[in-house]
Symmetry: C2
Subunit: 227 residues, 2 copies
Amino acid sequence: MRIGVLGTGMVGQVLAAKLAGTGHEVTVGTRDPAATLARQEPDGYGNPPFSAWHAQHPDVKVGSFADAASHGELVVNATAGAASLDALRLAGEANLHGKVLVDLANALDFSKGMPPSLLVANTDSLGERLQRAFPDVKVVKSLNTMNALLMADPGQLADGDHTVFVCGDDDEAKAQVTQLLTEAFGWRDVIDLGDLSAARATEMVLPIWLRLMGTLRTPAFNFKVVR
Amino acid sequence: MRIGVLGTGMVGQVLAAKLAGTGHEVTVGTRDPAATLARQEPDGYGNPPFSAWHAQHPDVKVGSFADAASHGELVVNATAGAASLDALRLAGEANLHGKVLVDLANALDFSKGMPPSLLVANTDSLGERLQRAFPDVKVVKSLNTMNALLMADPGQLADGDHTVFVCGDDDEAKAQVTQLLTEAFGWRDVIDLGDLSAARATEMVLPIWLRLMGTLRTPAFNFKVVR
């Protein structure tokens, strides 16, 4: 499938590499492709610059947000949550119209100290905000409750015996995303939480995820719904 | 140990029964003990009235919130979250002073429809509100992320292979609660999330818990932190 990945950070890189490696045609999109490719210093988390990653993944095309959205039959939002609405506006309604958008962003608010709180919570969610801004896009919220390495390769932890959630208002879109989760990424336990208002629930998992990362001193953990 | 349990609903009943059954001296507290004992009709969830439960548990004493708090060396807040601050005021600062308060309440807001949202979230929590109102009480937030039957008997699901969280500002109080969790209830995986501000994180688990109950059509599930 042709897939557009919005965002060239750690999450975008890991997902783009995995999707390209499983036979999909991937274009990653960024605000300013020339600047992203020219950057030589590590990012704020000490990761190598995008250009170093791209040199190892020449099969992944790089373009603007609009290029990536236009390329994809399915589009993945891997931008930082606080910037997602802007990124989608740059991607353009015409390039997103009618498509499935997998939203795995979390709108973290670092302005009130660490650990961050959420910019939107409880009675609304980032996923719903994106859906309201782009009513003709089929938003599916998923993969926002674990580390990027586990998103793309759940089998590296406990042989994949843990859980990922999906929610959204379009059943066909959720089925398509669920197929990608199981076939491309190897997820075995996908729980459908219902309509997109369940994005409130999965986005509100972030605070305990962040606390656990602090306590366990690793991002290599995930939740399993034991039943 | 002498334990006071505030609240005579399902949660209070299950915990009081388990604590009494493991050798503790338990008094449950309610706003109006005479009215609670006189009620003959089932509660709003169809559970038998308190008096029927109490007839089967004559070893558990029944009193006012103040009686239960005064009796307990350790006090459990099993009241509905929206009513917890009132219940603690009725219990009385003098009866709570210096004691450990295990807060397992969730402040659910049913006024905006189903599933409920939270009355306090994201940048504050019920646990912290209770701590601020009673600075000389040692609040430990725990057990608020699963169904009452699992709180008191985790072994009935997957042989107890799932997780409970504790947080609070007093390490000795957390150690005492952790001992109760493991020895009285049988918890095997207790994760200490740090100070009481982590109550924001565990209380924000409720929305996904409620969604999962709707999806799985049972409250008999819990989260395991796989690591």
